[in-house]
């Protein structure tokens, strides 16, 4: 063989072609017979085709050590998200909430039930633990319940963190996840003053939003209050970027993705993250009411993405967040941390959640599992354990050892592996162990189908689609 094969993964992409990707996500399509000739060492190393393959660092005629250096640098860049350790710290000041979303899994408390409010002592220890993270960037994200129901605790944590940061001098950001309905002008002014961004939920037009996310007080019109408060927040802040929105797909959302996207645009958002439901914890009868087969989500997702591309073609800049994340991984050499889809998984090492009682879990989903008495992913408690015990303990080491898709069965050979990630918590909750079984894994099916679809679109070599995709990558 006149050339050296470099590490790559492959899969039959369609009737006529194979897709090949290398360690750092560069890719090439080869016709079936070219592929066979390539792997058998029969390609002419002076042919155009071989030059293409070589430029993607899937084979080389150079000294291997030199190519290894280059690939190692790229690999290190792609994995640079590991350098800082945990930067996303989600804090649950309370489980109280004024909504009763149909897919809620956090065992929320009613507005007058203070049994799941965080105490000041716990809050202080949470902040103390957070600031022991070696990461130079700390993002504290308030989750719930709805954290605005205990706004005093939110303020206490913000101010405690700012105080700690006078000494630590880290890049400190705050985000509050809220349905917006309880925010008033004073609260918003406070959030603006402390640069606490607002993340909200918007499931679509009024009928759909109110079906998925009804308020407990049935006399109130959730969507109307949402819209009024959104305008108030933007007016105080002076721009639209202070509020981002997330959607969740329930059974009622299927067939409605165009309406949902239109609603986002009507309300002045320029992006959406088309997100499927993860209802593992629900009782069977309830699951049937709100859940759906992953195949239905995939079909809806593709339709939604096509619609968004069409809108962009017509001049409306609008981004689909999941596609943008994957495209950045496919088309650029840059690192993209995304706690829900990275390898090693982000659990504990990129993000962690501090519950109202001080319990620390590796992810929000791990916290949900604890509601069903499964404490497998609990790292400890801020009132009882040291930072080292929780974040450098045996448990987290053990979890992360099962969280690299470079070495998980099937993932290890998957052509989409450089763009994908592992999720030991979800594997455990859905399939009974952290490794999981890919052929029936719903997250795998979804991710695979979506990446495949993005490659189909890239393969069209449509200049307009390519221009749109690149415009999403900033």
């Amino acid at each position: 063989m006149a050339y050296q094969l470099l590490p790559f993964r492959f899969e039959w992409f369609n009737e006529n072609e194979y897709l090949l990707t290398n360690e750092v996500g560069e890719y090439i399509f080869l016709q079936n017979n070219d592929f066979q000739r390539f792997v058998n060492g029969e390609l002419d190393e002076h042919s155009e085709l071989f030059y293409d393959i070589e430029s993607k660092q899937i084979a080389t005629t150079d000294k291997v050590e030199d190519v290894v250096q280059m690939l190692a640098t790229k690999f290190r860049t792609k994995k640079s998200i590991l350098r800082d350790f945990t930067s996303l710290h989600m804090v649950v000041p309370t489980l109280r909430c004024n909504s009763s979303c149909i897919y809620c899994q956090v065992a929320r408390k009613n507005m007058d039930d203070h049994s799941a409010d965080m105490t000041k002592k716990t809050a202080k220890n949470v902040v103390k633990t957070i600031f022991q993270s070696p990461s130079p960037c700390i993002k504290i994200e308030f989750q719930g319940g709805d954290p605005s129901t205990d706004f005093d605790m939110v303020k206490y944590i913000i101010e405690e963190a700012e105080w700690q940061n006078l000494f630590k001098k880290k890049e400190l950001d705050f985000v509050i996840c809220t349905n917006l309905t309880l925010l008033n002008k004073d609260m918003v002014k406070y959030l603006k003053k402390h640069k606490c961004m607002i993340s909200t939920s918007l499931d679509g037009p009024k009928d759909l939003h109110d079906t998925n996310r009804p308020l407990q007080n049935k006399k109130l019109d959730h969507h109307a209050i949402f819209e009024k408060n959104l305008a108030m927040i933007r007016q105080i802040w002076g721009n639209n970027d202070c509020v981002s929105a997330l959607m969740t797909t329930s059974k009622h959302s299927l067939g409605r993705f165009k309406d949902i996207i239109d609603e986002y645009i009507r309300l002045g958002f320029n992006n959406i993250f088309l997100r499927s439901l993860n209802p593992y914890g629900f009782a069977k009868q309830y699951k049937e009411k709100i859940a759906y087969p992953v195949e239905e989500f995939i079909a809806n997702y593709k339709e939604g993405l096509d619609y968004i591309i069409e809108l962009n073609k017509q001049g409306t800049f609008f981004v689909e967040g999941f596609a943008a994340l994957l495209l950045k991984r496919i088309l650029t050499p840059f690192a993209t941390g995304f706690v829900d889809l990275q390898s090693p998984a982000g659990v504990g090492i990129a993000g962690a959640i501090y519950d109202y009682d001080g319990n620390v879990y590796v992810s929000d989903e791990a916290r949900m599992m604890a509601r069903f008495m499964n404490y497998y992913f609990k790292l400890g408690n801020v009132n009882e354990n040291t930072y080292q015990e929780m974040f450098n303990g045996e448990l987290l080491h053990h979890i992360i050892a099962s969280a690299c898709n470079e070495c998980l069965p099937v993932c290890a050979e998957c052509v989409f592996q450089p763009y994908c990630g592992a999720d030991p918590v979800r594997n455990m909750s859905e399939q009974g162990d952290m490794v999981g079984f890919r052929p029936t894994n719903e997250m795998c099916k979804k991710t695979k189908a979506i990446i495949h679809y993005l490659f189909e679109l890239l393969q069209k070599h449509d200049p307009e689609i390519n221009r749109i995709f690149w415009s999403w990558l900033n």
Partner: protein, 110 residues
């Protein structure tokens, strides 16, 4: 149904056998291929009593999954891909290790 030829044999209704030539395929390759089908069928492998170079892989219906002749054929195709992975990995597996080692080696400052 099309007539099936060796190496695929229909043993009974919903029971197929594929004979795998071990001079063409590695043991690891057969295991990796079986893994991908194991959620759909009960799969059993045994060395052929008359010919030690053959391994017979038997598929049996599970959870009412119908076994059509396509399944053993897909299995044969997947075997080929898995063997290519096995062969190519033998050529570049050590390079993959070098890349990871180099990428994560400690930075030494002078």
């Amino acid at each position: 149904m099309a007539v099936m030829k060796f190496p695929v044999v229909e043993l009974a209704k919903d029971k197929f056998q594929v004979s795998v030539d071990m001079s063409l395929y590695a043991k690891e390759v057969i295991m990796a291929t079986i893994y991908k089908f194991s959620h759909l069928f009960y799969i059993h492998q045994q060395t052929d009593t008359n010919n030690q170079t053959l391994v017979n892989v038997i598929f049996e219906s599970k959870d009412n999954n119908m076994i059509t002749e396509d399944i053993p054929k897909q299995f044969c195709n997947e075997l080929i891909d898995q063997q290519i992975r096995y062969n190519t990995n033998a050529q570049f597996g050590h390079i993959r290790d070098m890349i990871v080692q180099e990428a994560f080696k400690p930075v030494t400052s002078k």
